[in-house]
Symmetry: C2
Subunit: 600 residues, 2 copies
């Protein structure tokens, strides 16, 4: 196959070199793309980077290379896409991908994590990271096509303006119905700070997202509409110790399958299983965080969702990436039995449901689909629409009005530009101070007054309000990995801190975070992950080393944020969380000093 580089090969490498380096899949290269010049380079990572993957790599590259005070949409920002340390292997659930940049939403560092096909394909091509650099001076969009022997940066005119579902369909028609695709919709093209990057799932649906923090706007600012990854002909992933890997993976699979959450709850009901659980716990934020109980929780519950899916011929137990054995995803169909959306998560259902008082699951599913297609974060959109309700723009609970509003996002309608820039922005537009954000990122689906461990994570994570950064719902509500009272302060700073460390390490491994349930409940949980990594690379990592990796990632991230001007004044809840939350009437009562104890 001839080396094709769109005619712009960078000066320091000959095509034949590129050809060779790209072929050597297991050599672990970094692919840098200059989006202004339409050139690329393939480089051997420096030593410090060679042992990193996923979030570890995205955050380190951003810390090293992006000026923390730069404008997130400027040429100085970089978008980094990195498979995890185990991605590309047969390790169960190892196909998650990290996308990082300076966030246009928070102003701090961001790693957003997604399923899809890109992670494993990049890993098999030996690409540890793609780094999108610089920014074009004009509005011409490009498409990046990465194959075993070539990198093409070609005009993307035919895809501009399209929604993510159509983009993926067109790209699959052109490049084959199994290539990995990551792309942006109209919201990313407009550089809206809630813009997501969507990933094709194994069925070619645009239902998987690096949703949080506006990374789609960074990709949009660099005028990259999509990246296609085709690993046809890639060598098999090199394993340093094939036998040890198989042994570890066997235990890994067993652990995941046997745990009641990852082996039963999530497969059966998806993450929507949480609607009833969190409502029962009095922590389902209702009507913009005025209550922890939603009168109509049952109507939007996982049980109800699965009932509808089964009745309408949808699909339960889908995986977001090949190699997933949890299958927490679904395909949700409408009343006529037509596919609507995939991966309708608990947080999405909450944001468009209890938060806005909308109780029609079909309305919520349609909004999930719209978000994936327009390319915006579902949490940020749902919360923003609730804020618009708070401001009197549309009535509480009016699903049809909410859908109409969401449809404006990504169009030229000014209201779309308001909502599409997220909850904090919408709050400012409407003069509302009751806005649930930390570091300008909207709260997910757990009221911090009644799940205090996750509240500590919201307040202190370098990512802004992010449940995945330290999911203390485990110990607070699910009683996985411990039992810490969700309504009291005691123990919750420690729980959040430990989870933030473990999560950062897991995000570096490429493993799905939902494996954390069995990992927390099995003594050999972390050891099993470490054994997989050791067998893959022929190294001698210990469980402590793994946690040290998590600590070093958080240190990188906090260092970037410090440079960007973040202080403890940014690690705080909005004022109104001092109000008591029914039904437990708990308040947010941590001092700044208590919260700062999570820092390394």
């Amino acid at each position: 196959m001839p080396m094709s580089t769109n005619g712009n090969v960078s000066d320091n490498m000959e095509p034949s070199d590129l050809n060779r380096t790209l072929k050597e899949g297991n050599m672990q290269k970094i692919l840098r793309i200059n989006t202004k010049e339409k050139t690329f380079t393939v480089e051997q990572p420096e030593n410090a980077l060679s042992s990193m993957g996923g979030r570890g790599l995205t955050s380190r590259i951003i810390l090293n290379e992006v000026p923390p005070t730069c404008h997130a949409l400027s040429k100085f920002n970089k978008l980094v896409v990195a498979p995890g340390l185990l991605s590309g292997t047969a390790a169960a659930n190892s196909g998650r991908i990290s996308v990082g940049a300076k966030s246009p939403l928070t102003g701090g560092i961001k790693e957003s994590n997604s399923g899809g096909l890109v992670s494993q394909k990049l890993a098999r091509l030996g690409i540890k990271a793609i780094v999108l650099e610089d920014r074009p001076d004009n509005d011409a969009y490009s498409l990046v096509v990465i194959k075993r022997d070539s990198v093409e940066i070609v005009p993307a005119d035919e895809y501009v303006g399209l929604g993510n579902y159509a983009v993926i369909e067109k790209l699959w028609n052109k490049y084959g119905k199994k290539v990995g695709v990551m792309c942006i919709g109209p919201a990313g093209e407009q550089c809206l700070t809630s813009a997501s990057i969507q990933f094709a799932d194994p069925k070619g649906h645009a239902g998987r997202a690096a949703g949080r923090g506006g990374l789609g706007a960074v990709m949009g600012s660099k005028k990259i509409k999509a990246i296609v990854v085709d690993d046809t002909g890639a060598d098999k992933i090199f394993l340093a110790d094939d036998k040890a890997f198989k042994t570890a993976n066997k235990r890994w699979v067993e652990m995941i399958k046997k745990h009641p959450v990852s082996g039963q709850g999530l497969p059966e009901l998806g993450t929507a299983i949480l609607v009833n659980l969190i409502n029962e716990a009095g922590a389902l934020p209702t009507k913009n965080f005025r209550s922890g109980r939603f009168e109509f929780a049952e109507d939007i519950s996982g049980e109800r969702m699965v009932e509808l899916i089964k009745k309408r011929g949808g699909v339960i137990r889908e995986g977001c990436h090949p190699g997933c054995i949890i299958h927490c995803s679904q395909a949700y169909h409408d009343k006529e039995g037509r596919y609507v959306t995939s991966g309708m998560e608990y947080e999405t259902i909450w944001a468009f449901g209890a938060h806005t008082l909308i109780k029609d699951l079909d309305d919520i599913a349609l909004m999930d689909r719209l978000c994936d297609d327009i390319g915006v974060d579902t949490i940020e959109m749902g919360v923003a629409i609730g804020i618009a309700m708070e401001g009197g723009l549309i009535p509480w609970g009016d699903g049809k009005a909410a859908i109409d509003l969401l449809k404006k996002v990504g169009t030229d309608a000014p209201l779309g530009r308001i909502i599409g820039n997220g909850a904090a922005f919408t709050g400012q537009a409407f003069g509302i101070d009751r806005v649930p954000v930390v570091k300008r990122q909207a709260f997910p689906a757990y009221d911090p007054r009644s799940v205090k461990g996750v509240g500590v994570t919201y307040a202190t994570s370098p990512m802004g309000a992010d449940h995945t950064a330290g999911y203390a719902v485990c110990q607070n509500v699910l009683k996985v990995g411990g039992d810490v009272d969700p309504l009291k302060k005691e123990g919750n700073v420690e729980v959040s801190k430990n989870l933030q460390i473990a999560t950062a390490a897991i995000d570096a491994s490429g493993i799905c975070l939902f494996t954390a349930f069995p990992v927390l409940d099995n003594e050999d949980g972390v050891q099993t992950i470490v054994s997989l990594i050791n067998a893959r690379y022929g190294i001698n990592m210990t469980p402590n080393d793994f946690l040290d990796l998590g600590i070093s990632i958080l240190k990188d991230e906090h260092a970037f944020n410090k440079g960007a001007g973040f202080t403890k004044a940014d690690d705080r809840m909005p004022d109104f969380f001092a109000e008591p939350l029914p039904p437990h009437n708990t308040t947010w009562d941590f001092t700044d000093e208590e919260l700062q104890q999570v820092k390394m």
Copy 2:
């Protein structure tokens, strides 16, 4: 006259006490108004506050009483209105007023300074400061009417939704055509972060503004539509040494009248005299800071403005407050000879002119009028409209389109909510990173690459980008108070630092900042101000004490901002000021460390 308190007298004082305390004008009281309960208290300031006035008092009260991390629109913020130390006296140009709060625009402390009638009337009533506290739970607006013997907090239904010109007209018809009025327009009611507080000038026009930082939104959040101040029957201001005061004031008047800027340039052409001067200096920011020269500067110059005013029967040489002897203001009339606007400042002409490439002075005058009437900051609006042009919303230089856009501000149109929230917000809405702001406040009319002293002020002032906070245009361009090369770094940090200190002290005195021109050029300048203060209060302030007052004010302000989370990362220019600016092709080249030297 019966004591009227709208039926809600606070528990700790009897009406008769209030009656007495309000009457004792020279006793220097603080009037606190609880906007939720519609009650007030009158208190003797603690010692530390009794020697402060104007910006010194607003910033100290905010530092002491407002949690720096609170939401600026929440009940925790306070709006403080304070005449200066010399306000109410016969000292020339002593009728400026300070308004302070946590800024909804910058997130930091804010003092915004205006002319009008309120300052001297409050001072004569013995009111050192009004402090608006708390916030109603409903949308009912109130009007505060302060007279010699009463404070009324009454429903303002008949004024809601009206523009500032109409509000003042109605209030003058009701309360007499010489009462002081400060009020908000529709923008303040919507809590837009560019909302101003407008002050009636001596003719009852709404042309004077505490424009910057969105203080109108704070007043709007507290549902106070207007404050009326009637000093009828007030005692004469007490002077500790009448003779010394007269002697000092004689010298003060002489100094102001004799200086070429305050005695000649400003009276003849207003601040618009600067259009040609700054254009000549290559520092008139043109087309969103792409050049320092505007091809059509002559068309929007002060010379042209005065020519039109004279031809159309307008007024030159108006004062913004009684006691002004500079008279830098004008009344601008349209082609038919009808009054359009007052106080069309250089910065306003620039923002709607060179910045947006609009060259029709009538369009600019209409936009100035619209801003005053809707109640928004002219600088923030002009810069925001330029950013909308940058985003392709309307064409560069299209005055009619700009007027249409501005007319949406304060209405329900979503575009109005975007523009009305200022330049940084508009930039985010349209995905633009070329946005000239520091601390989210839009740059005024001097390119920092070619007037580097004022650039240092933009970057480091606790107020955000604010030319008035340290107007190094004096030494850089006008060669008043020294001669420092505007194109080089040398000396400009020191110049800005000294000016920031002196300005803070002047803002505490209630004196118009334009007296700084003669003060800088006369050896006895500061001594004369100090002599006036000493004669007023019977104290022994020295010129050094006066500058120490400035330092202490800046320390207060930086302390608040630090608590709000500001760091040196907020004391920076946007990235694009690294581009060379024609015609001098200078860049912004200060390091963070150099800039931090301005801090006390």
